[in-house]
Symmetry: C2
Subunit: 231 residues, 2 copies
């Protein structure tokens, strides 16, 4: 129902002859600014006037290029994923063991969530902290919820593989462990937004991993001989 940014054909935009007056601003840079603003203030508290000021364009240009506030937010979510997802998930995916994957996820999160990667990015994770689903925007809400569900699925899948590999006991609560890991990561986002430092969050990660190690070995002990908690 809304004209897209440059028609979809030809698929290679570089070959499009670009009819009409060319755009006077960098669409990518403007989207980056919009993303940072939504990230920092949330959807409802960010006005079109805020956006046009941060993006350095007029409102007709914004609507011509991005359609509406809702579709701009959706594009901002996509851009955020493309730009930041690898910071937290690349080492997770490359790790040889579930233990190392979780360690990478939490330690990399401690850095990314406190702005230790990008220069002056907002604190915490835009997707984790987004409350757009509670603000009456069902479509955007589904989007962020499914992103968060995907993260849970990734960890569950990795832990399931660890069970298949024998790294984790077959009796391990894969779903509970996955929810636990993402609960810690989500809590790190909340604390980052309140000003926790990278070192603060790394301490959280260390405690988590110590518990992970001990629980896994305790689980094996329990599996072999102990019916109750060790201490």
């Amino acid at each position: 129902m809304q004209k897209q940014d440059r028609p979809p054909f030809p698929p290679n935009a570089a070959l499009a002859p670009a009819r009409g007056r060319p755009r006077a601003f960098d669409r990518e840079a403007a989207l980056a600014q919009a993303t940072r603003l939504f990230w920092r203030k949330g959807y409802a508290a960010t006005s079109i006037a805020d956006l046009t000021e941060a993006m350095g364009i007029g409102s007709p240009s914004l609507y011509a290029a991005f359609g509406s506030k809702e579709t701009l937010y959706a594009e901002a979510l996509d851009w955020y994923g493309r730009r930041y997802e690898a910071l937290v998930w690349a080492n997770f995916a490359a790790a040889g063991t579930a233990r190392e994957a979780v360690e990478a996820l939490l330690m990399d999160s401690a850095a990314a969530l406190t702005g230790s990667c990008g220069a002056d990015d907002p604190l915490g994770c835009m997707v984790t902290l987004s409350a757009v689903g509670s603000e009456g925007h069902a479509e955007l809400g589904d989007r962020v919820r499914s992103s968060r569900a995907l993260a849970l699925k990734r960890v569950e899948e990795r832990l399931g593989r660890a069970v298949a590999d024998g790294e984790l006991a077959a009796s391990a609560d894969v779903h509970g462990l996955a929810r636990f890991v993402l609960a810690v990561q989500g809590g790190m986002s909340l604390q980052a937004r309140d000003g926790a430092s990278r070192a603060d969050l790394e301490a959280v990660a260390r405690v988590t991993l110590s518990g992970w190690d001990a629980q896994v070995s305790a689980g094996r002990h329990r599996e072999q001989r102990l019916p109750d908690k060790p201490a």
Copy 2:
């Protein structure tokens, strides 16, 4: 700058003769409805029209009784604390050991955050999930941040006492452990808002406590003989 609800003198409101036309609505019930709405939708996404409809009053009555949207939100935070804080912190405070206190905190949170106490309350913690500080309302932001900081201080204080009692090793990272426990609780709020069940969150709590037990004993082991992780 704003007339309070009934003058502060005499201090006992029941003895006040109540001059003028009496209020036609239950202030407490109206505040409860306002709290639920702010809790569910957040500050920015909740309009005065939403509030007056939910509270069943006209806007002049709202302003006469509560001052402004900001002061109403502040009162809602107070009311939320009075009404729900004990659900999560009473058993924590009464527990004989730090281990039992943390267990109580997380298990009671699993119930409260999923609406297993009140009938149809919103999901997750209003204070934990409040983003009002990022939405450009500094005063309210300080309020929720200090509430969250108080929770951290409570856990730190309890863990510090556990170290003094000998329950935890003197080498235990009290700050990191406290941040860890609250990160898990915060993550539980996020997952509750996404629809996680009480059983889901209790699984998270169990994993956390297993790790706690194992880490504490591992810490003691390390303190006594082992320089590295057990497994």
